[in-house]
């Protein structure tokens, strides 16, 4: 008997039909992959199956009473949202760099302990998962201190620990480094072998062997894979004119770090960092999850208090010489998974882009005439003009990311800090974005780009820095 049987399934949001007449059947032990461009209905389908959204038509789940796996459906969201101990979510992305004695969120270990208790799960199995995903090191950290890849792993550990009969994972690979991906695929194969039915929502290419069935969605309908829109080329438009002019450099030394270290209590997250970045260089920054990449970048974007205790020169000015963080930020365009996570939930698309002029999270100041022109040009260029008045958070993830990318370039800064900018974007959008980066780079902007996969990088990169456990292991021309 099929575990999941869907026939003529529809989902409506108000008057809008977002899923049209879907039919398919999934059996225990099968691995399925749902593909489709951003906004095509992938997440909606996952939520409908897990009962989080109302649907019409047939959606039948027949659990197997003989199976050793619990008779449950679990939907793992693409984003993990945690609250502080008081149930609040008023975080800001820089928060994990400030050091407070008061603990605001619970630790990873505590979170897992609670989860295990709630679902009566065995600790032996947890050990296995922690080892396979290389996750022991973060157990004592607080939830807001860990990186986006580590958050993703926490979700995965929980899901694979529970091992429900039907498991749906939205964007399983977001933020995972190369090795973690391979390890995850091993675990997913084990899961289907044990009789689990797996549904991955992902456009990724490096899928587990068990992923043998595919559904491709386009505008809420199932289409044959080769016809899917997400495979079609995007038409290249000319760049907005303001992005053609070279940035005004005040110094040829963009970044200079000498023997830089960052530590929390006795634990070093960065050490022995000696790094020079000159104007116009375009760096690739790599390293496994938790190797210190984001911390290194936070020293550059003036978000880390420990910058004051180190020898760091930014744009020719030594940190702690009386400059304000806003003097530094105005030269930088930044995007990172954390910035996106904690971005102002009340901002419209237009306000989100415009806030890039002020380096604020949300727009608090009025635009001048020239800024308004630039904003409009950029919105049109990114195909966001029609949704400019919608709340950013109501767009599909890929589009949100695109809007925040727009925020980084809107002031045509000297330095672009692109920390996993394509996380959450599908292949097509990634190529499109990287093409955009290549095009912009011709104006001489300096770039630091964090990306895990060689196949998903812009072509313009000239140098490479690789971190491992907080130390530099590669520092070379690319």
């Amino acid at each position: 008997m099929a575990l999941l049987n869907i026939e003529n399934l529809f989902v409506h949001y108000g008057l809008k039909t977002v899923l049209h007449n879907l039919s398919f059947t999934i059996n225990a032990g099968e691995g399925w992959v749902i593909r489709g461009e951003s906004g095509s209905g992938k997440t909606t389908l996952g939520k409908a199956i897990s009962g989080q959204l109302r649907s019409t038509g047939q959606l039948k789940i027949d659990f197997n009473p003989q199976s050793p796996l619990p008779a449950e459906v679990l939907f793992v969201e693409s984003w993990y949202r945690f609250t502080n101990l008081e149930g609040d979510r008023n975080f800001y992305y820089q928060q994990r760099y400030n050091h407070y004695q008061r603990k605001d969120t619970s630790t990873v270990a505590h979170e897992l302990e609670q989860y295990g208790k709630e679902h009566s799960l065995s600790n032996a199995r947890l050990e296995e998962l922690l080892t396979t995903l290389n996750y022991h090191e973060v157990l004592d950290e607080q939830l807001f201190e860990i990186s986006s890849g580590e958050h993703k792993k926490l979700q995965l550990v929980k899901a694979l620990w529970l091992q429900p009969q039907l498991l749906i994972i939205d964007q399983p690979y977001t933020g995972l480094d190369v090795r973690s991906r391979a390890n995850l695929n091993t675990l997913l194969n084990q899961y289907t072998t044990a009789g689990g039915a797996l549904l991955l929502i992902s456009n990724d290419m490096e899928l587990p062997e068990c992923g043998t069935h595919f559904i491709t969605l386009e505008a809420g309908r199932i289409v044959p894979a080769d016809k899917a829109l997400y495979l079609k080329e995007q038409i290249a438009k000319p760049l907005p004119t303001f992005l053609l002019s070279p940035p005004q450099y005040t110094s040829q030394d963009i970044i200079s770090m000498h023997d830089v270290a960052v530590r929390y209590d006795e634990k070093y997250v960065l050490s022995d960092i000696h790094w020079q970045v000159k104007a116009g260089e375009r760096w690739l920054l790599q390293g496994p999850n938790g190797s210190g990449k984001s911390t290194l970048l936070s020293l550059i974007t003036a978000d880390h208090p420990q910058a004051y205790a180190n020898h760091i020169t930014l744009f020719g000015v030594k940190r702690g010489d009386g400059e304000s963080i806003w003097d530094i930020k105005k030269r930088i365009g930044l995007i990172s998974p954390e910035l996106h996570w904690y971005f102002d939930a009340n901002a419209t698309v237009s306000q989100s882009l415009a806030s890039g002029f002020f380096d604020s999270n949300g727009q608090y100041q009025k635009l001048r005439y020239a800024q308004k022109q630039q904003l409009e040009e950029l919105l049109k260029f990114l195909n966001l003009f029609d949704v400019r008045n919608e709340l950013l958070t109501t767009l599909p993830l890929g589009k949100q990311r695109l809007a925040l990318l727009g925020r980084t370039i809107i002031k045509n800064p000297q330095l672009l800090v692109l920390d996993e900018p394509c996380q959450g974007l599908d292949h097509q959008q990634t190529r499109y974005f990287n093409h955009l980066v290549d095009t912009i780079s011709k104006n001489g902007v300096t770039i630091i780009y964090v990306g895990h996969f060689e196949s998903q990088l812009p072509a313009c990169l000239t140098h490479k820095l690789v971190l491992a456990q907080g130390k530099m292991v590669v520092n070379e021309s690319y």
Partner: protein, 493 residues
């Protein structure tokens, strides 16, 4: 030491009480220049101390922390907060003599002893700053005549001061110069620069005075902010239990209701809050609020009188001297109320349901905000100050109630607020005894609109809408809120 305010002739009392000028953006055009390159030493590294210091340093200023010896030797949290964030930390002897500006961010109760220890070490012509004027105004602390005394008082908890700054915004702030201590006339420029350094200039700044800040702060916190929210919450809960409403539901409605209701207040003032009600409910809430105002006005006036005469702080300081005997006793009593002991039920209450089923709280808040505002203004405080100390801060306190109910709210607010809150609550409950007998579940616990046909008298509605909109707290509020454009929504549990 004599209460500073009471030493002033009436003319000067009125003069200082009446200072409140909303500052325009261009007054901050010099940024942090007046403090650039100066040595700034913060005493105390708690909620305000750490977060203000982080902001000031990120604005390009030179910050270090002077802590008491015990804190350094025992590596207390204050020492860790400062050192972990790479600030220089030292004893008073090491740091105070080098300071151009000393910022006192220790608890108000400790100010006399802290200032007595710090002042002799301060160099000639240095500046001393506070974030609350209690020590200067109520305790009458005398500062050496060569020292400039200023105040920069953010009207939000320390964590917000930091969070808003890094978002690129700030929190509303009062600044002031103590007229007895401005020998070189530099106080105002320094206060403005300090305010810019914390980001306050982006969210609206009032040029105030020590006296106006203290007398309005005390009044606001003990009446509408803490006192009335506590009394209203407890009476509402007890009424629902009396009428057989499920205890879990009642507990949740009361715990989260204040937050949801005041969220509307934050965005659109009393008008915005009242507009969340249906027309019949609005008319009812209006009438109930009028009745409440009549009953409670003498109590609000008594609190304002005791604050002005210094009676309140004298009595409270007697309790300080007595090891906080009263405070601790009353705190324990708050922990024993039925509301406190009933956990919020596992029921979903929608945003609108909090208004429809808790119309009584809307009336309480309208009455309390308007009464506090009216009473302060009658006493000579300017509408701008009165607004910040009543309407503006109500959602912030409501937020702490939603997190952990009343006992915790009282624990996290200042000592002065907590003490005043209990005094108010004890007097207010009996005062409302007869009124509460008239209250039924349509006002609290059930949907007010249920079983009513929704019709209203047009003329009456027009008049009530106008009365709500044209109350002076609304007029000044519209102006000040415009300056504070961006506001985050608080999530509903």
């Amino acid at each position: 030491m004599a209460n500073y305010f009471n030493t002033l002739p009436l003319r000067e009392q009125l003069n200082q009480l009446g200072v409140a000028e909303f500052m325009s953006n261009d007054e901050f055009a010099d940024g942090v220049d007046a403090l650039k390159g100066k040595k700034i030493v913060i005493v105390g590294c708690g909620a305000q101390g750490l977060n203000q210091g982080l902001n000031l340093r990120d604005s390009g200023l030179d910050i270090s922390y002077a802590l008491r010896k015990e804190a350094i030797e025992q590596k207390r949290d204050s020492w860790k907060n400062a050192t972990d964030n790479n600030f220089k930390v030292g004893t008073y002897d090491e740091l105070i003599p080098t300071a151009d500006l000393v910022i006192n961010l220790t608890p108000d109760k400790q100010h006399t002893s802290v200032i007595n220890a710090v002042m002799p070490l301060m160099k000639q012509g240095a500046t001393l700053s506070y974030s609350h004027g209690f020590n200067i105004v109520e305790e009458g602390m005398q500062i050496r005549k060569d020292i400039t005394v200023i105040m920069v008082a953010p009207k939000c908890p320390g964590s917000e001061v930091r969070a808003e700054y890094v978002r690129g915004f700030g929190v509303p702030t009062l600044i002031a110069v103590h007229p007895e201590n401005d020998p070189e006339g530099k106080g105002f420029d320094q206060a403005k620069a300090y305010c810019v350094g914390t980001g306050g200039h982006r969210a609206g700044v009032l040029n105030s005075s020590f006296v106006a800040e203290v007398k309005s702060d005390l009044m606001g916190e003990q009446t509408i902010l803490c006192g009335l929210l506590q009394t209203g919450s407890i009476l509402s809960f007890d009424k629902m239990i009396e009428k057989g409403i499920d205890a879990g539901y009642a507990s949740k409605l009361v715990q989260y209701g204040v937050e949801v209701v005041t969220e509307a207040l934050k965005h659109g003032g009393v008008t915005g809050m009242m507009d969340r009600l249906s027309n019949p409910a609005k008319i009812k809430a209006y009438k109930v609020a009028e009745e409440l105002k009549q009953i409670m006005r003498p109590l609000f006036q008594k609190h304002q009188d005791d604050i002005m005469s210094g009676t309140f702080s004298r009595v409270m300081m007697e309790d300080w001297a007595n090891g906080d005997a009263n405070l601790l006793k009353w705190r324990a009593e708050t922990g024993e109320t039925a509301f406190e002991k009933t956990p919020a039920g596992d029921v979903k209450i929608g945003d609108q349901e909090y208004f429809d089923n808790y119309t009584l709280m809307v009336a309480f808040i309208k009455a309390g905000v308007e009464l506090a505002f009216e009473t302060m203004v009658e006493a000579g405080i300017q509408p701008e100050s009165a607004y910040y100390e009543s309407l503006h801060e109500t959602p912030l306190i409501a937020n702490t109630i939603a997190r952990k109910k009343l006992f915790e709210m009282n624990r996290v607010i200042s000592d002065t607020a907590e003490y005043g809150c209990y005094l108010f609550d004890q007097a207010c409950k009996p005062l409302l005894g007869d009124f509460m007998k008239t209250v039924d579940t349509d006002l609290v616990g059930k949907n007010y609109n249920e079983g009513k046909d929704g019709s209203v008298d047009n003329q009456e509605l027009v008049e009530i809408n106008e009365a709500i909109r044209n109350h002076p707290v609304e007029i000044v509020g519209r102006k000040l809120r415009k300056a504070m454009t961006a506001m985050k929504a608080i999530k509903t549990a």
